[in-house]
Symmetry: C2
Subunit: 354 residues, 2 copies
């Protein structure tokens, strides 16, 4: 049975977009493809508020996290950690043989500019990783305040995982001076998975030019060589790029500010609902506009709830990792509407007899 997705990725995809996925194929070295890519890139720059290069990577977001690490550090990386995905960035950094230190806070807490400042002062680091919106905990780190502090460290590349926030929460890449801002298209873009995108600054490109043993698949300078011809280095996920082109039109037609506002309204609704019937897991000061982590204060069976929801055509997520039965997560990102959230929370109330 078909289930409407309220999980934090892959998100619910509209039928119009699914139909674009069924477009007949074109050659990736053809004029048709170059025309497509040259339509997509300026729109991507627009939604990211940037004039930086914007690369299309046939990989998940994790691939571009690896890319950011491989291209942007030759000294030591400071990996900020506030949940599962920011922890993964630390793992990736070490797996690539790069020197790295963790800066870790408890799950549900946020990374603050003060913590970062204190560590960067030591002068040991040439890159900092930050997950903007921790999908595992429903925390949005204070990116604008952190970016302000980063301006005091011009030799430290700011690498931002915006996987579950890009086009859902405002990120002005150029104003903030973000060197690599990456995301997969299956979250706030509301497309099927298989493609990741990143903006890459001149500073990141300059750093990359100095770094050795970057590999080939994720080398930003290999991307650049083909980018100028409106191409990617290797055969890309053409269906997802066609879908992205359509969706960027639809996002711009909705209006970015309207889109951010819609996510914020959905978030407020779900947060209020969670406060009424359960509690919020994460620090109230940093609640996410795209996903809410509800604390299972009633000791319900999260797996059982999801099974019942499945019968009614919906799916939410359990808590991440160790939080599996202690929390459940409701995503309110992408093309979902307030009515969708009212419906799914209504279903939960009915199932649990709240």
């Amino acid at each position: 049975m078909y289930k409407k997705l309220f999980i934090p990725g892959p998100t619910q995809v509209r039928d119009e977009i699914l139909q674009v996925m069924a477009t007949p194929m074109i050659g990736h070295r053809s004029q048709d493809y170059a025309d497509l890519q040259r339509e997509v890139i300026p729109k991507l720059q627009q939604v990211l508020y940037t004039e930086n290069l914007c690369f299309l990577s046939t990989s998940s977001s994790t691939g571009l996290m690896e890319a950011a690490i491989r291209n942007c550090s030759q000294k030591k990386v400071l990996n900020t950690i506030c949940g599962a995905f920011s922890k993964r960035w630390h793992e990736i950094t070490l797996a690539n043989g790069k020197a790295a230190d963790p800066l870790e806070v408890e799950m549900g807490q946020a990374i603050t500019p003060e913590m970062i400042d204190e560590r960067l002062k030591t002068g040991q680091y040439d890159a900092l990783t930050l997950v903007h919106n921790e999908t595992s905990t429903g925390v949005t780190n204070p990116l604008y305040e952190i970016a302000e502090v980063m301006k005091n460290y011009p030799d430290v590349c700011l690498l931002v995982d915006a996987v579950s926030s890009m086009v859902g929460i405002k990120i002005e890449v150029d104003k903030l001076g973000i060197d690599v801002c990456l995301a997969g298209v299956q979250k706030c873009f509301a497309l099927p998975p298989g493609l990741a995108v990143a903006s890459v600054s001149q500073r990141a490109m300059d750093r990359s030019a100095e770094v050795k043993d970057k590999g080939y698949y994720f080398d930003f300078h290999v991307f650049l060589k083909y980018y100028e011809r409106g191409q990617t280095p290797t055969t890309p996920a053409i269906p997802q790029i066609m879908a992205l082109n359509q969706q960027l039109d639809d996002i711009l037609a909705e209006g970015l500010e309207n889109r951010f506002q819609r996510q914020a309204e959905m978030a407020k609704f779900v947060q209020d609902w969670a406060r009424q019937y359960f509690a919020l897991y994460s620090d109230e000061r940093y609640l996410s506009n795209t996903v809410t982590n509800v604390k299972n204060t009633r000791g319900i069976s999260v797996a059982g709830l999801n099974e019942e929801l499945g019968k009614r055509g919906a799916m939410i997520s359990n808590g991440y990792g160790p939080l599996k039965e202690h929390c459940f997560r409701i995503a309110h990102m992408g093309d979902l509407t307030l009515d969708d959230l009212k419906w799914v929370t209504g279903q939960i109330e009915e199932i649990l007899g709240l």
Copy 2:
């Protein structure tokens, strides 16, 4: 205007498969996804004649070429080169900071077992890369004879790019002792691009366990960790995996031997046609069953020919790289039929007034 693709990837995709690409999304950590992956893997093993692990990689084939290098060498790689894609493997090897030597023959020629034996005798190498079917030249290297020689070198991993041959030309992975056999789905599988697959032997997994600084995204042991749960390490290209599942059913329904036979018949037809009106570029002993490189003996404008074909709803490829106007390539792989090839060569005859 819609063009039927006679290019060597992406290949023509049937409407039934395009419709599968439009399936509503499912979560990649859901039971539905695990069921899907557990359907796909045994069928993939069947078409590869292997009991090895078969991994699904959200990347192009180039990503898995990088994976093979990163996981399977800690000494020195011998990169056999007979065209653009085998040359890329040498580039990738060096870009990953691995020691490597090229073993190069002229474009249009094949790699022979004797050449390989002579180099491996030196005992310097722990991995050998081979492109089975060189898409850039239309040459199929003698994989069965090469695999025979490789049996004398049990410490050398045999890494095979079967990008434009897998499920188009018979490759019995286990019988041949291939350690990594990789391909993208947009060639002989006739699916939209965005997914690559590889079989990986126990020897390759053992080697990988010893190698350091493999990175995360292409680490075979990270793949294995999730494989056992019917999952991939990160969000995969779900639409392409759904399409692969359907297409594997269709391939097995056609029958593998029938499929190989169909490609061979199409190849023979195009080769005969090329001999009649032009000439063949590559060594007659090693002509490919999936793509033919036609030598432009008439000095026609290849770009002009393709433009005229475009108006009639078809697309072929020019010669690769330096061969751009000196050759043109007609692919006869995937779900194309002899009638399709008769039609497109007929169109070429009409356009050129042959």
